[in-house]
Symmetry: C2
Subunit: 477 residues, 2 copies
Amino acid sequence: LIDHDSIMSKMESKRKKDISAFFEPRAVAVFGSLKDGGPGYGAIKNMLDFGFAGNIYPVNPSQGEVLGLTAHYSLAEVTGPVDLAMVIIPPAAVPGVIEQCAQKGIKAVIIGTEGFAEASEDGAALQQQVVNIAHLSGLHIIGPNTIGVLNTANGLATVPYHVGYKNFLKGGIAYCGQTGLISAHSHPMGPRAYPLSKLCDFGNKCDVDEVDLLNYLSDDPETKVIVMELEDVKDGRNFVTTARRAVAKKPVLVFKPGRSQAGAKAAASHTSSLAGDDRIYEAAFKQAGILRANNWQEFWEIPRVFASQALPRGNRTAILSISGGGGIVAADTAVEAGLAIATFTDSTVRKLAKLSPRLGNNPVDYGPLTTLVDDPVAITEEIISLVLSDEAVDCGVLTIYGGVEGTAEMLCRVKQNTPKPITVWLFGPVPSVTEELYYRLASQGLATYLDLETSIKALGIAVAYSRIKSGFVHEMT
Amino acid sequence: LIDHDSIMSKMESKRKKDISAFFEPRAVAVFGSLKDGGPGYGAIKNMLDFGFAGNIYPVNPSQGEVLGLTAHYSLAEVTGPVDLAMVIIPPAAVPGVIEQCAQKGIKAVIIGTEGFAEASEDGAALQQQVVNIAHLSGLHIIGPNTIGVLNTANGLATVPYHVGYKNFLKGGIAYCGQTGLISAHSHPMGPRAYPLSKLCDFGNKCDVDEVDLLNYLSDDPETKVIVMELEDVKDGRNFVTTARRAVAKKPVLVFKPGRSQAGAKAAASHTSSLAGDDRIYEAAFKQAGILRANNWQEFWEIPRVFASQALPRGNRTAILSISGGGGIVAADTAVEAGLAIATFTDSTVRKLAKLSPRLGNNPVDYGPLTTLVDDPVAITEEIISLVLSDEAVDCGVLTIYGGVEGTAEMLCRVKQNTPKPITVWLFGPVPSVTEELYYRLASQGLATYLDLETSIKALGIAVAYSRIKSGFVHEMT
């Protein structure tokens, strides 16, 4: 395959779609019920909440008023340019609306509605009819059966259910998938400060698919890491070639449901996906240098490690734990995640031992010392800084108790003062207090976790990507 | 080993310790700094917060006043009976206090202080000195290096740090371990409504250990499931025999850190544990019928499945998901957890298909239907009830969106109306809203989860225990 890369690349560029209108439209037309609670209403309310930078045109024969906007009878009545349409109307009415969109010169249509290829043979035929119209008129479709897209840079959000929060943290993670579980109304992306660039639910993938998103997102300067939940891959060879090129630029992390026979069967009736043998996917992902998430928690949380810090230069890890028991679990998990427990230089060991006789080991259990000093935060900072500046340490895991004044500021200083990647596990007795500190740290770019083991697996994945990337670069020179 | 059970049992009963005073003392003496923030202050404040049913005697030469209680100069000044002492003073002063306790006739002493066998050779010698005093006087010790015990039945809590919340859900889970991470000040046991009976941090296990707790908790009527984090097991043969007897009565779930060489080394300097080869532990756990948790999340969350429902009669599982994508992941996880995807009876399939043509499969994706009806909660209840009453279904997994009015009441009715075990995965966009619903459901005895995969693994563990238990019963008859 590697030998064929240049040929593949030419073939590929021929079919490369321009899908930028899905994420950067000047204006959006919304087709769907404008009643409070209706899908058109929901999408418009979200875009107003998120401060969408372009025009929003509700289109509805009712010509009613919605959230201060007057609905247009049809798309033809809209005078300004429209680049994107969000369509959430009964399936039978969809082809007619796509025709309207084509006539208006729209290049990007999201079909939110369910009831197409995933539902029945009639639905599959209807989906094919829609695809034919799209091909003839040169427009592209995301869906059907999708909540669409989100772009934190311009406040675009097509999700047809009211999300209930208004703030996102703009950042480097792009999440894609084939389920509404990845939408802003299902997951606390805003309240948990996910550093988000873009989001795309492929739905049934009748046109735009994972290959198109890999192409687009690997060129997107705002996206630092691409994350995908994939029930199937439509064109394996193309996917591997495109993913390899993306991986040379930025990490690609994939979660692949439908591994079991029962899961694959369920995928077929969810988005008409043909999941296939997981071993084939495993081999393809490996060839492409794709990182794999094993569950939803890893899908959501691991990407944070890439969002706002450098890659580790090696796998020698320092474990700095306020809990001795936590240090042991961290050590086990680190080894299982491909990390090495760093052996500190003599100078570091001496300095640590001078602070307290039992500190010179890795994991460093600094908990007992904090109970003996007047300023536990200062001593914690001193220990963390000392260890992270050791030349024999490539990266660090911190376990932090969430209830101590000054902890957030201290951790932000630690991050500013080291070029080495770190992850932080936060714990404490009161969820609301922990959540608040978590938000502060996450919004300052610290890779913060509410689960100890995931904080360490994330560092392991960062090391794995660091190796894959240098291998790819080596291969190309 | 099985052949030797009766002999072992006799040997075992000889050394069986009465440790009930650690959990059911008439009065507690607290040795430790009474300054605000000091360990004595913290332990007393917690017991006052939790409404400890017995007397609390601070003992401190300062004879100061603390939280309305006057400190006694020494234990000899206390006139009433005292069954338990919590000792959190510098190591060198500990032997003298243990002598005082022995003279007062106290049978149970918790040594919270660090700096014993885990710290140095001198510390190990001091620990041995304390053990010798205990043996001579017939008192028992938990620790050193521990946050002690908790009993939700009487409000006893020896943790020397102020916890910050006042309410526990009394229930069937007993957590034990060798780290402060299992204490009420580290984990949101109250705010997350863990159905808790008792808690014990063994610390260095100089006297009371996992075997003593297995004996005590297997006879404790309030405890329905025993959960242990173990860095090592001191007496393997005794442990296996005792655990087998416990497992015949109730599930025992063990999380074993120190699996890796690095983890084992860290365990040695944490609680002086000798972790040893994990394969030996694996074999011993299997022989004893012990269930294994693979990480902290499983340690904390899986036990809920046992707290307030019957065991599954088989592994035929119904997956009822508001999200199609969630259903696929649930199916994969179920298969990997040893569950079978139930094949519904024809009657159920017909009734489901009548509600909506695509409902007749397992996983049941009821999400699309809820968007088409006036009362989504009522239709959800109808579908769940129909499926759970199918004779071909042994247990069920529900994925529930947390933002819909009436959901909590509906799920409580579902639980009341079925004898079959169910687990619930809750998700939603706003953590505070999700937490609130979670609390309501958990405090009504629903096995509720904030992580999809864990909700399914928990059912798998319930099925595994059901099989182990019937195997043991079969073996005994």
